[in-house]
Symmetry: C2
Subunit: 140 residues, 2 copies
DNA sequence: ATATGTGCAAATGGTTTGCAGGGCA
DNA sequence: TGCCCTGCAAACCATTTGCACATAT
């Protein structure tokens, strides 16, 4: 479901669709693909509702995380970044050429195995495999 | 290579083997399997060198990260946890109770599938599965 | 003598929270 | 009325840094 359409879900639920939350949604719709920080989203949201406060942005992001509409991307230094939630998504990152390739295909099998074996419910993933792609592997 | 033996590597390189760093190593040797925070390591290291400061623990951990002896485990809330660096390793992070559980068992199958299918060579991983453990799942 | 390492306390910076006010049900 | 939502500023807390002193090479 596209990000913007989730507004309806928000409205259908017990949550109010305030102008501030609309502004955050519009900001996300603009820049979510850039893996924005809360500050990035705040700056963009101001274009739609200039009086919005940073705390409101954080509170809205927290709400969207709870609703599984967004995922956090945790990085060693600096602030958390956000992306549209894919429940099960994985990247292969080539250490040779830097390409990032989606390798979702067999992730479900792995996640299912973990769920069945230990009784966990896997709701989202942060999976990066590092190594060398076919091209770079031959060159080594 | 076991964690403790890496002391030698540290000594062979340009780094000094101070009593403070020894204390951090001994602490890590004791509790690294528990995914400790810097505070956990600090508390344990005090048993070996009571005057050690928290800043020194952080500086030593940073050094060990650079040397690829440790890996950070980034979590949505709370402080960074540390583990011994492994090439293929995965965590399940419970969003209910915060527990971090190793789920390496089927990761190799997944990594191997990616390797065979696309001709990649997977050398290391950063894999976090988020969700709810059996206990927290029942409570929901 | 020079570089490296340390403890302490203060600073930093991302995030959260208390509070008083505002708006919708 | 009651509850949810907001902005602001202050608080919070993990981590980093400045500094003066210590230690190793």
């Amino acid at each position: 479901m596209p990000l913007v359409n989730r507004l309806k879900k928000l409205k259908d639920d017990k949550y109010q669709l305030t102008p501030q939350r609309q502004a955050v949604f519009q900001a996300l719709n603009d820049i979510i693909l850039e893996h924005p920080t809360a500050e990035d989203i705040y700056a963009r949201a101001k274009k739609y509702y200039s009086q919005i406060g940073l705390a409101t942005v954080y509170r809205t992001l927290e709400l969207l995380l709870e609703l599984q509409i967004l995922n956090p991307i945790l990085v060693p230094k600096g602030s958390t970044r956000y992306e549209a939630a894919h429940s099960r998504h994985a990247h292969f990152v080539c250490l040779g050429c830097g390409r990032i390739i989606d390798v979702d295909k067999h992730l479900n099998q792995y996640a299912n195995a973990v769920e069945q074996e230990a009784g966990f419910a896997v709701t989202s993933t942060s999976v990066q495999l590092f190594g060398y792609c076919a091209d770079c592997n031959h060159q080594q």
